[in-house]
């Protein structure tokens, strides 16, 4: 069910138009600690970064993410993955994220900025009740220094990533 028609011919606004608007908005009103930019002209794939919030094990670390928008966006959630390896209770080792607003609680009122802000706050406030990484959830509760050590050990700076597997 593609949202095909453009507004010019009387149909709904296309995904590209909506994303274009979001891009403009993010460029004119940048949010600190968050960036996002489309990979190419057709706008359906973006690369984003978020900085770890202060006073969390992720402080001063930068994480790269990929975002992919279906033709039904914004009525369906974008597919978001961590590209930077991250040790977090709600992210698995391939970067998949368990966050309700990216699943059944997605609403068309969210945008890229809102998603990235939610992910940023997820870093400091993991949902340990439904972990993808059970060990991380366990350590967060019981052995915070060890958790901190594992976060730092797993992290790679974006430059290292680029030099490595890409």
């Amino acid at each position: 069910m593609a949202l095909s028609t453009g507004r010019s011919n009387g149909g709904g606004a296309t995904v590209a138009q909506r994303l274009q608007k979001e891009l403009m908005d993010m460029m004119t009103h940048p949010t600190e600690g968050i960036t996002a930019f489309p990979d190419d002209e057709n706008m359906t794939k973006w690369t984003a970064t978020i900085e770890g919030p202060d006073d969390t094990p992720y402080a001063k670390l930068t994480f790269k993410l990929s975002m992919e928008f279906a033709s039904t966006y914004p009525y369906t959630a974008p597919t978001v993955m961590f590209k930077t390896p991250i040790y977090h209770p709600n992210v698995d080792f391939s970067g998949r994220i368990c966050l309700d607003i990216l699943k059944d609680k997605w609403s068309a009122i969210y945008n890229i900025n809102a998603v990235l802000l939610s992910l940023q706050s997820l870093l400091g406030e993991p949902n340990n009740a439904s972990p993808l990484n059970g060990e991380a959830a366990d350590l967060w509760e019981k052995d915070f220094p060890e958790f901190q050590r594992k976060v730092t050990a797993r992290h790679k700076a974006p430059e290292e990533l680029d030099a490595g597997d890409i």
């Binding site: 069910m1 593609a2 908005d25 009525y75 609403s107």
Partner: protein, 482 residues
């Protein structure tokens, strides 16, 4: 029979099962007897309920069951009812009114650059429909159906309605919080704003308060399930109120059919054809619809209920179904007081002659019956109605000619319970010139210039006299059986 592994496998399949959603997003309007057919082989409760359904709700329209059906049904019927009302200005008014709610959206943290896309789709559609209505090109229903079968447009409009509902709930927390099992904000984001959430009953209330009632529409949700009863349940019904707080008379009503987990749209027969195609002044349709009603035994038509609801103690639902019994009941009570012997035979047993009697006659008595049940002195308000014109021309013993019988449906129904037999006046006919002017025609009788018409400022009901009535009725019976 199955081992654990098989069961687990089946359970997994069952969990993952999603019924294939097919059909148009919003279907064409069709006869609701299709619902009856659908349940032909179903549970008896369903069979009974759906068998009755088409008599009350003649048409229905399907919505695709993709989880958006409730929102879609409300949004679609909102626009469709605007078309039905056929007030060209209303389309502009609604755009202005909806736009004025954007303050509320902003206040509750919705971002204009996000919701304006959706608002524009809704406004676009309002303008297109408004243009079509003012051009009288008759395209509006097709434009609407096409728009709602476009995934992008319909999702945009549904989402717009969702956030208005959400903002409304958050602005009126006291109306909603008592019914929620979680904080209002969380409820709204999960059950109203979420892209994939079915419309629940609380959301219907929010939509009714925020969007439907202010435009002057009512909304009714009819529930078809296996609960006891012979009809679908009227689970939710709100009607708009005017600025003075009084309810509108017969507001245009949006009707949804709810079957567990799914919404479709229902219509009454009188919802169509839309008034724009048959523009008629207030009075004439009255005759047409009423004559149709008595002849065909159709359920209450809107035109009739317009008038009938103005009559104190009258309510349309009582009319359609109960009249036969009521009319017999009614006849027995006056006869007991009556001194006429012929009356006894007429009333004590509903003889074939009575049932053969023409439909307008029966109808007339029914009007009296439901009316009398609300009054202490029913006998004073009755009707056995003969057009006034017959009085001077035809004295009671003579059966009125056929032509006058034909004219009766109109005068009888229009006159309602306030029009009584004029034969009562016989003894002192000349002494009561007020109500029985000899130059009365049946048209005059129906007009509000007649003091016996309930709309006349000097309204003076005619009175009923059992004696003359039954004398007269014998004459009528004869003529009816001819």
């Amino acid at each position: 029979m199955y081992d654990d592994e098989n069961l687990a496998e089946l359970q997994k399949l069952s969990n993952e099962y999603e019924p294939e959603v097919t059909g148009p997003l919003v279907g064409e309007r069709q006869s609701s007897s299709a619902i009856t057919t659908e349940y032909e082989n179903a549970d008896p409760v369903y069979r009974v309920k759906t068998a009755v359904l088409p008599t009350k709700y003649a048409y229905f329209r399907t919505c695709r069951g993709d989880g958006h059906c409730g929102w879609r049904a409300v949004a679609f019927t909102y626009f469709e009812t605007l078309i039905r009302v056929a007030d060209v200005n209303k389309f502009e008014d609604e755009e202005v009114r909806l736009a004025s709610m954007h303050n509320l959206l902003n206040l509750k943290g919705f971002q204009p650059d996000i919701y304006m896309d959706w608002a524009e789709e809704a406004f676009d559609l309002l303008r297109k429909l408004g243009n079509s209505m003012s051009n009288m090109d008759g395209d509006a229903p097709d434009i609407l159906l096409a728009a709602f079968n476009d995934v992008g447009i319909s999702l945009a409009i549904m989402t717009y309605f969702k956030i208005i509902a959400s903002a409304w709930m958050q602005s009126n927390p006291s109306h909603f919080e008592p019914f929620l099992h979680m904080p209002l904000k969380a409820y709204c984001s999960q059950n109203v704003e979420a892209a994939n959430c079915e419309m629940d009953s609380i959301a219907v209330v929010a939509l009714a308060e925020a969007i439907i009632k202010p435009v002057g529409f009512g909304i009714q949700v009819l529930y078809l399930d296996r609960s006891e009863g012979t009809e679908i349940n009227d689970t939710y019904h709100v009607e708009p109120t005017a600025l003075d707080g009084l309810p509108f008379q017969e507001p245009p009503t949006m009707r949804l059919l709810y079957r567990p987990g799914h919404f479709d749209i229902l219509y009454k027969a009188e919802d169509f054809p839309p008034p724009i195609q048959h523009p008629v002044p207030a009075q004439p349709p009255l005759h047409v619809a009423l004559a149709g009603y008595t002849d065909d035994f159709l359920p209450v038509s809107s035109n009739m209920s317009d008038v009938m609801t103005m009559i104190p103690g009258m309510y349309p639902t009582g009319l359609g179904q109960r009249w036969p019994e009521v009319s017999y009941d009614y006849h027995t009570s006056p006869t007991s007081q009556s001194q006429c012997t012929p009356v006894q035979t007429y009333a004590s047993a509903p003889t074939p002659a009575v049932s053969v009697a023409s439909s307008h006659q029966e109808y007339a008595t029914s009007v009296h019956g439901s009316h009398s049940s609300h009054h202490h002195a029913p006998s004073q308000h009755t009707i056995h109605l003969e057009p006034a014109v017959t009085l001077p021309i035809h004295p009671p013993p003579r059966p009125p000619p056929l032509t006058i019988e034909r004219a009766q449906p109109m005068s009888v129904e229009r006159s309602g319970p306030f029009r009584s037999s004029l034969y009562e006046l016989e003894p002192g006919y000349g002494n009561a010139p007020l109500q029985t002017m000899p130059f009365q025609t049946s048209i005059f009788r129906n007009s509000h210039y007649n003091t016996a018409h309930f709309l006349n400022p000097d309204f003076q009901p005619e009175e009923w006299s059992p004696d003359s009535e039954y004398t007269h009725n014998r004459g009528r019976d004869k003529s009816a059986s001819q």
